[in-house]
Each structure stands twice: as C-alpha cells, then as structure tokens.
Symmetry: C2
Subunit: 283 residues, 2 copies
Amino acid sequence: VEDVHFRLSTITWEELGWKSLAVNLSDIAAMGGQPRYALLTLGLNDSASVEDLQTYARGLASAGREFSTIIVGGDIVASPKALFFTVALYGLVPEDGMGPPMTRSSARPGDLVAVTGELGKSAAGLRLLSGTHSASAEALAALRQAHNRPRPRVKEGFALRASGVQTALDISDGLAGDLGHVARLSHVGIRLAAQELPVHPFVREAFGEEGFGLALFGGEEYELAFTAPPRVMSLACSALGRLGTGVTVVGEVLAEPAGKVLLTRPDGSEEAIERGGYDHLRV
Amino acid sequence: VEDVHFRLSTITWEELGWKSLAVNLSDIAAMGGQPRYALLTLGLNDSASVEDLQTYARGLASAGREFSTIIVGGDIVASPKALFFTVALYGLVPEDGMGPPMTRSSARPGDLVAVTGELGKSAAGLRLLSGTHSASAEALAALRQAHNRPRPRVKEGFALRASGVQTALDISDGLAGDLGHVARLSHVGIRLAAQELPVHPFVREAFGEEGFGLALFGGEEYELAFTAPPRVMSLACSALGRLGTGVTVVGEVLAEPAGKVLLTRPDGSEEAIERGGYDHLRV
C-alpha cells in the first residue's frame, strides 16, 4: 500500500515489481517449499502511468524467472485513494521424503537457533532512503538494494528442510519479534547471545552502536531464522555453506520462560526482550 | 475497494464477506472448476471495527461452507486511505474425462448462445440501494439480495462442462460486454434476440422498459453465459434443468462480423452493440 509499505520517491517501479513477488516468495522459502504460481491484484490510481506499470511488470517478471514462479493471472481494479499491489502465491512442499513443511511451532528445548546472512540491512536501507542518516556510496547502494530488492532465501529454505530442520520462519517482522512468535507458538523460551548477532558490516559502519538495534528489531529482513537439535544444525549449516550462504548460530531454545525471548549481553546480564516486532496495523 | 465496489451504507458486513468470496467463486464456476482454497488480504482502516470484521468473517465462512471452499490464510495490512478486500481463489478442473476448462475463445459459428437465470437483477438492486428508484418491498428485498449476496453458479458450471460445453464465462461485466469478449477472443460474431432476454420479473416491475438495458448491460450479474452446438446445448439445458436452474437460449454464433455483438429487435431491425461493459478503471 502506497505510503504505508513503500514511497514512490524512494523505490523504482522495477524494484517495486521485484519486491512485490520477493516478499511473498520468502513465506514459501520459510516453509521449505517450492513457489509455483502467482496471482497479482493491482489497485490503481493516477500515481501509476502505463509506462510505470510496464516497468513494474518487468521487475515482477524478473523475480518470477529467478525463482521459477509463473504469474498466471490476477485482477485490476480502480482504487483512487490508495495505490496497492497484492500478490497471492501458490507453492508446494513435494512428497520427497525430506520432511514436512517447516513451521514456527516445532521448536524444542535443546535446539540451537540460527539465522542466514547478515542483519539490519533492510532497516538501515530504509533509514538511508528516508534521508535521516548518511553513509558511504558503497554502503548506500548495498543497503538500498537490501531494502528495495530483497532476495528471498528460497533455495536455502529448501536445503534446511532437506537437512531435517523442522522449525523456520522469515524475519520480516524483525529477528526479536519473529523469534517471539516461535517462542509463543512452540511454548518455549529462546535465549539470544547479543555478541553473536551478525550485524551487517555496512550497518555497523553507518549506524555504529545503533546498528545492533536494527539487527535485532529491524523489519523487512528476508533472512530465515531456524532452530534444530545440534546434530541437525550442523548438517543444515553445512548445506547452507555448500550454497555459499552465510549462517550464524545466535542462541538456544530453553524450556522456560515459555513464550519469551531473552537477550544475554557480553557482561553476562540477561533481559527479556519486551519490545515487539512490526505491528501491521500501527500506522 | 470501498466507494468503488461497495459502500458501507448499502451493504452489511455479513453480505460483504459473502460477496468477497462469491464473486471469485464465479470465475471458477465459469471454467467448470471446483473451488478449493482461498487467501484473503484485508487492507484495513478506521472504517472497520473488530466486530465488523467478525461479521465479515461470518459471511465469508458461510460462502466457504456453501461452496466447499476453505479460507487457508492471507494477510492483514494497514490502508489508512482506502478499505479493501482481495481474495485469491485456487480451484481445479479434475481430470475426470469430462473435458477441459471452459474458455471464452472456443465459440464456433453455428453454436447457440444461452444464459442461466434471469438478468438485470444486480444492476437493478444497485439502483434501488442507491435510492434513485423505488419498488415493492418484495422486489426491493430480492434485488438487494441479488446485488449484495449473489449466488455463484458453481454446480451449474460443473454441469455445463460435464455436458460437453466448451465456451462459458460469467457476465459480471454485463451480458453484452462479456459476450463481446467471447466474440473478440473466438473471432466470431454473436447475434442476440432482444425479445429472448430473460429480464427478471422484478426488474420489469420496477424499471419497465429501462429493465431491458439493465438486463443487457448491467454488471455484477453472476450468471453464466455459454455457447455450444445445438446437440450439446440440449444436453446442457437438460442438465441445468435437473439442477432446477433456469436457462434461456438468447442468440447464436455467426462467422461474421468477427468481434461484434449484434442485437435483433422484434421488428427485424439489427444493430451492432457498441456500448461496452464495465470499465474497471473508469471511476
């Protein structure tokens, strides 16, 4: 929705098309599925010219090609007050003997907690795009790209499921917020080690200490977080390594306190993370 | 989209939920498919209270139960400027030996053209709801229901395909407009006999002569139009009869003029229908 999820002043139409599909692909990735078919609803007003929509379609098609997803149809409606794009994505988890879809409710005490890639980059990109912070040209380009043209972890999700991982999700609501969902749905506690969080180097460079908060709470981060017993975790890390995707063990699953995420600081102090993730209805 | 496709002053939340799913079920019906799973995106603002949404959900669920469709998920987003509801529906045409999905591009010269049910009721209902016309209480109730709580022709579509019908569509853009799609996509002409159009009795009662225009052009009519060679048409009419659904042969398919819909009046005069159906971007 324009001016809620994007501003036309800080994203190109090509990026908007890519991102429309990418953020949905991420949900299929989180279950270890294969994306297949997408339906697109366009709610159009005067903000979009025909040429803009052609550029949008190119971005959408390019994400479709990259992740083997066919745009099979959809609908176009007039929406004079608010430009919006809705994508519905159909995918499947094949009966390949490599386990059921990964969920958020299957974490067990003794599991390790890990995350793909590096964190804070999308939230940092948003701040840079909004003009409230500055950074080197290189950092600006990379972080802008992370925010506007995220790469969903589709093959990584598939590899995690194939490795025996049962619990995963994307961290589009922020690492802390999304692990909170796992803690509540699995009735477990989760302890994160602050010093282990893989804050993206450009985020450290441009935001210093503040970068840690972006890594912990920043939304629209299309990395995968997952939990698994140590033996499965080592297989999973190895499988991600073969894909060239970085992975970091950032914590562990506890029996208590159920439904909570704890943060351990380097000085040994521990606190429950109370601040939630993205609230979809807070505007 | 609020104030484009519905006004909260003229539809209840229960009806809105029902209609959100029903209009999509109609597209599956038009292909002779079985609806299966629906995804719902809610774009919410202050127009909708939690109680309103619970009522909406009851309407949605009630259409789901009636037409064997499961609401499997979706998304909720903030949309401060425009309340909107998007439904994506997944269905299938089983490999049952009863023919492929019906399309709009397979009409052939010599086919007859028929339509289920009676026409003009949804457009008449909209006018009555807008307060520009009046009618008897009985007509008002029936026509309001036709507009706000349409019944998609799911079992009828399935029966048509099973009877060997290859060309069908719903007439949500109006009979003339939608048959224009068939004429263009099938490269055929279509001749409609004005006196055969099944104008709904309440539409005649409340709108007199104007009712004919509502039947020919009125949108949001979730009846099915279809074409078939005479022998298949008779099987199809008989199958609809067994379902208790009325059907009327209203015209025929011609080789020429390709892409055009002609209307024959009782006095023998004939004209090409130029006026189009609903334009989705005209606001």
